[in-house]
């Protein structure tokens, strides 16, 4: 069990492992010792709880490291709380709702006009491709491009973090 826990601890950021890794392993091994004489079902339950806790904790710490989001996820109570730094501004929600309302109204108006004058435009001799088909054709390309750009950005950030370059900001050249 301890070997599995040790492997799961590798999912945590290196800095976190350096500070808490040994303590966590000590706690886990104490728990295993306490359960050594108990039934195998209790041991399985402990293993599942601890493995789940380690994976969840690792995800939280990695997210915190990458995005610098201070989020508090408590899987025990199911509560999810965010701090002020990541709060969605209420004005944004209002503007988004307003824009959505305008778009829906414009669509409705357009449909009303189209249905009130059905044959106002004579058929054209040449075939014009509808604009939405052009847009739909270009959409996957558009999303693919930005998805790739996002992946490249993430890879660069990940490589920088792994290299430890962000710690250079903490280096002081002058004696304290």
């Amino acid at each position: 069990m301890i070997t599995v826990y040790r492997s799961l601890l590798r999912l945590y950021p290196a800095e976190y492992r350096r500070v808490f890794g040994e303590e966590m392993l000590a706690v886990l091994s104490e728990e295993c010792d306490q359960l050594a004489s108990r039934r195998s079902l209790a041991r399985v339950r402990l293993f599942l709880r601890e493995a789940g806790g380690l994976i969840g904790g690792a995800v939280r710490e990695q997210l915190r490291g990458f995005l610098q989001i201070e989020q508090e996820l408590s899987f025990t109570t199911g509560r999810f709380a965010m701090r002020n730094g990541f709060r969605f501004p209420i004005s944004t929600i209002i503007f988004m709702a307003l824009i959505l309302g305008c778009v829906l109204t414009a669509i409705k108006k357009g449909q009303d006009i189209a249905s009130s004058v059905p044959n106002v435009n004579p058929p054209l001799p040449i075939h014009i491709q509808p604009v939405h088909s052009i847009l739909l054709g270009g959409m996957p390309l558009f999303f693919g491009f930005f998805y790739a750009a996002g992946l490249i950005g993430w890879a660069i950030l990940y490589a920088l973090r792994r290299s430890g370059v962000h710690r250079l900001a903490d280096v002081s050249t002058a004696p304290k």
């Binding site: 966590m24 728990e31 969840g56 710490e61």
Partner: protein, 118 residues
Amino acid sequence: MSLYDMSCKDTMESLPLTEPVLLILLSLAGQPMHGYAILKDVERMSNGRVVLSTGTLYGAIRRLLDDDWIERFEEKETPRGRQAYRLTSQGRRNLQMEIDRMKHITRLATLRVATKES
């Protein structure tokens, strides 16, 4: 705004505490404890209802250390991997604020329920 006001504002934003965090702080209120002792104390205090995993416990400990609510307690002869923690004065103050908040709610709830029943 003074530093004290800012600290109070931060504390108020952190309240109410989640149950695991409250129980961790309560277990450290009496004496310094190391990780395994905290786990067992939390389980005992909640009558087995809250069983923390090591990952969850150390996630909470990391946040509480960052926020300066708890601190490492240096013991004379600490075995390897058994680091003890204790409440800071700020942590104790915040815990007291949370207890006061809960007392107020309990009082209010008792009063309202009693009024309704009568």
